[in-house]
């Protein structure tokens, strides 16, 4: 049987990008199923995402934040029995042709989760601003200290998950700024995490969810969340038969 692959695309006010993002994925591989989670957008995202009929669109009745939106995707993947789920940003900064690269480790059963990273090797393309790179360095250090793994790009939202990880995250996923926290959560619960180098491009339009004064708040919140997650007990998992 063919492997079922779900591309989870969280979108909040992404009317400018969402249609192109879906089209780029479908153009690359028509077998990928696209799932857009419209996280209570106030613009035309819903219509734009539905317009070309290439994606299933889930419209959340109110805004949950990126974590809640992505978790909706995991729940959908679990209910519909998908083998792999790819988290893919709705703003056009990830490239569809990199999907096989982050899927490969899962398909060879080398890892449960694979993160597309900008920093494993010096890749070309978009590298983020100086301040952000410092923040990402701090997260990387925390990963080393808290779960003793080398994960260089904790904030990357370009990730692949296998069935086991999907089931786990459908039940346990952080809400606000989930990426760095999830790395700790998964590491703590003995999931195999790997990183592969990918290229990203600068966002095509819309606004980043984190900017300006918010970034200090973001750093403190995320560091606290990472520390707390590392303190928690392992969550008991029922193996999939």
């Amino acid at each position: 049987m063919n492997e079922q692959i779900l591309i989870i695309i969280p979108a909040y006010n992404e009317e400018k990008n969402i249609r192109n993002v879906i089209k780029s994925i479908k153009d690359f591989n028509a077998d990928y199923k696209c799932l857009v989670i419209n996280d209570g957008s106030r613009d035309n995202t819903q219509h734009e995402a539905e317009s070309n009929g290439l994606a299933t669109v889930i419209e959340l009745p109110s805004n949950l934040g990126i974590g809640g939106a992505v978790q909706t995707g995991f729940k959908y993947a679990l209910y519909e029995n998908f083998d792999y789920a790819i988290q893919f940003d709705g703003d056009g900064q990830h490239l569809a042709n990199e999907i096989p690269a982050i899927l490969a480790a899962l398909q060879n059963d080398k890892a449960d989760v694979c993160i597309g990273s900008r920093f494993v090797e010096k890749t070309f393309g978009f590298q983020s601003t100086f301040m952000r790179r410092i923040g990402i360095r701090i997260f990387s250090l925390m990963n080393l200290l808290l779960i003793r793994r080398k994960i260089t790009d904790s904030t990357s939202g370009f990730r692949a998950y296998n069935k086991e990880a999907i089931e786990f995250l459908a039940a346990n996923y952080p809400t606000d700024y989930p990426e760095p926290e999830t790395v700790i959560l998964l590491g703590k619960n003995d999931f195999r995490i790997c990183e592969v180098p990918v290229e990203m491009v600068e966002r095509q339009g819309g606004e980043s969810s984190i900017s300006g004064l918010k970034s200090a708040h973001y750093m403190i919140k995320v560091i606290l969340a990472m520390l707390m997650t590392a303190q928690r007990q392992k969550i008991r998992r029922i193996p999939i038969c």
């Binding site: 989670i37 299933t56 669109v57 889930i58 419209e59 959340l60 009745p61 109110s62 949950l64 809640g68 978790q71 909706t72 729940k75 959908y76 209910y79 809400t175």
Partner: protein
């Protein structure tokens, strides 16, 4: 006799007021629970602190004992401290309840979203079959 009592009450107006006040609080909470405006689960903390206040205001020496244990010279200040502590506890309970509500709310929103998409899909396939 009656005059004596009246004189005592007048001299200890604070005590009278605090007994009446804490009794009213206690009865008010009970009434809310009876009318189902307040869940039993969340009334417990209120009732517990209400009881403490009633007991403390009736047995004046008790408050002085408590104050001297903590090391407070002016006994009524101990009452204030207990009041602040109780308000703290109740507020923390609120934060816990809000977090629980937020979690439930998030799950509901997610499920509603998935179901809505599911229904749309079903309606579409039903329409398609009709037109065939």
């Amino acid at each position: 006799m009656l005059a004596n009592l009246l004189e005592y009450l007048l001299a200890n107006r604070v005590q009278v007021f605090s007994i009446i006040g804490s009794l009213l609080l206690f009865l008010f909470i009970l009434k809310l629970v009876k009318r189902k405006k307040l869940k039993e689960e969340y009334s417990l903390l209120w009732l517990a602190f209400g009881t403490i206040f009633i007991v403390l205001s009736i047995f004046k020496p008790l408050l002085e004992i408590v104050a001297s244990i903590i090391g407070i010279v002016y006994a009524p200040a101990a009452l204030l401290l207990i009041l602040v502590i109780s308000v703290f506890f109740i507020l923390i309970q609120f934060s816990i309840v809000i977090s629980k509500l937020a979690e439930g709310n998030k799950n509901l929103i997610q499920e509603v979203g998935i179901l809505k998409a599911e229904i749309k899909k079903l309606q579409q396939s039903f329409k398609d079959r009709k037109t065939e």
